[in-house]
Symmetry: C2
Subunit: 404 residues, 2 copies
């Protein structure tokens, strides 16, 4: 595809990149711009569902969809490649197998694992990061059970699953494990009491930022299903079979170790010479990179300030999806001439699933939800995104429709 039309290149088909591309095809006429979407895989996946994949409670194909099934390929050129570097002063992107020039760039490259220099964490812990890395966890867990039940491995401690980090992902993950482990125990004739699910967190509480009532509810719900918490417990080192914690270097043993304790922006931004602050880029309120009027940075790569609290918004799917709207509007304004808009977050609430029919969270003006009501609301939120992306057909194909 060559033309004299302005060329918009979108990097990454995560929540931010997919929704921006979708909105651009809706807001722009075909003759206004050429649109290119670059992604490593030919599929888009729901990052917020990966913990279910990692625990084994959701089928991998429910979590992903072919990009070409939801993006109009007569309007968008899909490039299946990996980004190496952004030549920001030359308006070029270097890919592993080629390069692309752009007039407008949208960076939605997502997060990477951040291990804060904890010794051995990078090498020894799994992370819930992609479809492939998540289902590796699921297979690894089941492999431990199969090895134990067959007598190939007689070390009971290898059945333990230890999870570093009690933020959103860590808690949602142990919630799924609490549902999955009894099923695996039954399948492999292993006494449930032999398998420990241990969550280790340095902070004094799980789910920092959530209301105390909700945190209490979550913790009790999980402990009732035999999840163990080691809160206020600093991880000094991750060995192949243990977290080493606390002042006395106690070892918490497990055959499966998962780190959910931190994320940082994709390292491509830093490598490309953009200024990075705490692993992310401070973007302008119109979502553009400071000093680069044709470059938007969205999602987990961007710090967007919340003016009310004077703190940056956390990296969530909800924010990435809303940023996509602002970004598409602003690109249209740049093409057509007009005012750029500021990003304003419309908080629709946050619900954390705790496995099975368990969940909790807030919606609207801080209204608290618990249990099955929260779980149902979580599904509504998840399905709403699918509806925006691909209409009712996508909800039917990939939505969460099972009753709880």
């Amino acid at each position: 595809m060559t033309s004299n039309k302005p060329k918009i290149v979108v990097l990454g088909a995560g929540y931010a990149g997919m929704m921006t591309t979708k909105r651009l095809t809706q807001k722009l006429e075909a003759e206004e711009a050429e649109i290119v979407l670059v992604n490593k895989h030919n599929y888009h996946y729901q990052t917020t569902w990966l913990h279910e994949l990692a625990a084994g409670t959701l089928d991998p194909n429910k979590v992903r969809m072919l990009i070409s099934d939801v993006i109009d390929t007569s309007r968008v050129d899909l490039v299946h490649d990996t980004v190496v570097e952004i030549k920001k002063d030359e308006n070029r992107v270097i890919l592993e197998n080629g390069e692309l020039e752009y007039d407008y760039l949208v960076v939605g490259l997502g997060f990477e694992k951040a291990t804060f220099g904890i010794k051995g964490m990078e090498e020894n812990a799994f992370s819930i990061q992609s479809v492939d890395s998540s289902r590796l966890i699921r297979e690894h867990i089941e492999y431990q059970f199969a090895r134990y039940s067959s007598g190939e491995d007689t070390n009971e401690e290898n059945l333990n699953i230890i999870v570093g980090g009690a933020g959103f992902t860590g808690i949602e993950f142990v919630g799924e494990l609490a549902e999955q482990v009894p099923k695996l125990c039954k399948k492999y004739d292993i006494d449930r009491k032999k398998v420990r699910i241990i969550n280790v967190e340095a902070a004094p509480t799980i789910l920092p930022g959530f209301d105390e009532d909700l945190v209490d509810y979550a913790r009790k719900s999980l402990e009732f299903r035999d999840v163990e918490f080691r809160i206020g417990t600093k991880i000094n080192e991750c060995k192949p079979d243990a977290f080493v914690v606390g002042d006395d270097n106690e070892e918490i043993k497990g055959g499966t170790i998962v780190w959910t304790g931190g994320v940082q922006a994709n390292s491509i931004l830093g490598k490309s010479g953009f200024e990075i602050f705490k692993g992310k880029m401070n973007v302008n309120t119109d979502l553009r990179a400071p000093g680069y009027e044709n470059t938007f940075v969205l999602g987990d790569c961007a710090w967007v300030m919340n003016k009310e609290t004077d703190r940056p918004y956390p990296p969530t799917a909800q924010i990435a999806i809303q940023e996509a709207d602002t970004c598409a509007n602003n690109i249209a304004a740049l093409l057509r001439g007009g005012e750029l808009e500021e990003f304003v977050f419309d908080n629709k609430g946050t619900v954390a699933s705790l496995g099975g029919s368990h969940a909790m969270g807030t919606i609207f003006e801080g209204k608290k939800l618990y249990g099955k009501t929260a779980r149902a609301m979580k599904n509504v939120i998840d399905n709403r995104y699918l509806f925006m992306l691909g209409g009712p057909n996508l909800v039917l194909k990939k939505g969460k429709l099972r009753p709880f």
Copy 2:
């Protein structure tokens, strides 16, 4: 349960032990004898289906059933324990957690892997032996795929599955793999061409003992689905990642290595001082151990001579099941006084499944069957056993009812 009734102890709930116990409850009145069935697990499984479990084409729970679901527990005392030794001259059996006295003993302890002293085979190869050992293979294979697709393991050769032995189990297993591997490739976005299924056999043909036409059909059917054969190839050694074969010590590499090349009788018999010949016991034609008039040895532990060919019958489920009938009749004769009968094998034919809708074999007077007809017949044979064991309900619950 203590009584003055004669006590019949059956060791092992495989095909021979289960059917003998079942027949004893049918042929004897409750007051005639006390019946005890000893088994390691609380379930019985279909050894002839384990290759499907190992490949991942059959659910583990389809292959097994609770013993108490098919054996009348008001008539039979189920002992969940492992046999350590038979004190044959004292009429006692030593178990891991106790011991049992008997008046009549039925030994149906099944087979163990025989590796013929091939270096490294015992340590490095999986075997299709029990529910637990078989599903470990399935999990191991899938784990290799997950590791490769996630980039955790970049060695393509680890996707290869190498199978030693082209007898019944080895061939049925590669047949299932031929069906399963394309599914795993799709699931993990791996090119099918990257995965090799290699069967290695020292003999000059696969399926020795089968008619040449059938062997040809099987080989072509499997090669068409990309199974590779290395026939007439002697395995010198099994390394953790390879078979070392032939005069030039060629290495055939794979991340999953399965040995199906040989079985021998359970080693308890030898340990207990019974005379063993080529790993099995030559039993009398009434199925009793020579010199022990109250002890029957059945199934894979026993050599029973075929008078027509003057060679022992091969270790098959069909023979074990028929032996159970003779054994139960002979125990009844011993209890009531009467003639003991000789075991006569009624060959109902043998069908080998080759995966999916593929199969081949002979029925009745050597009539050859191929393809879907053979596959359908295989299911009939499998379901017939379930019918004998547990009636129509068991066929409905555990039978092979999917159409091919």
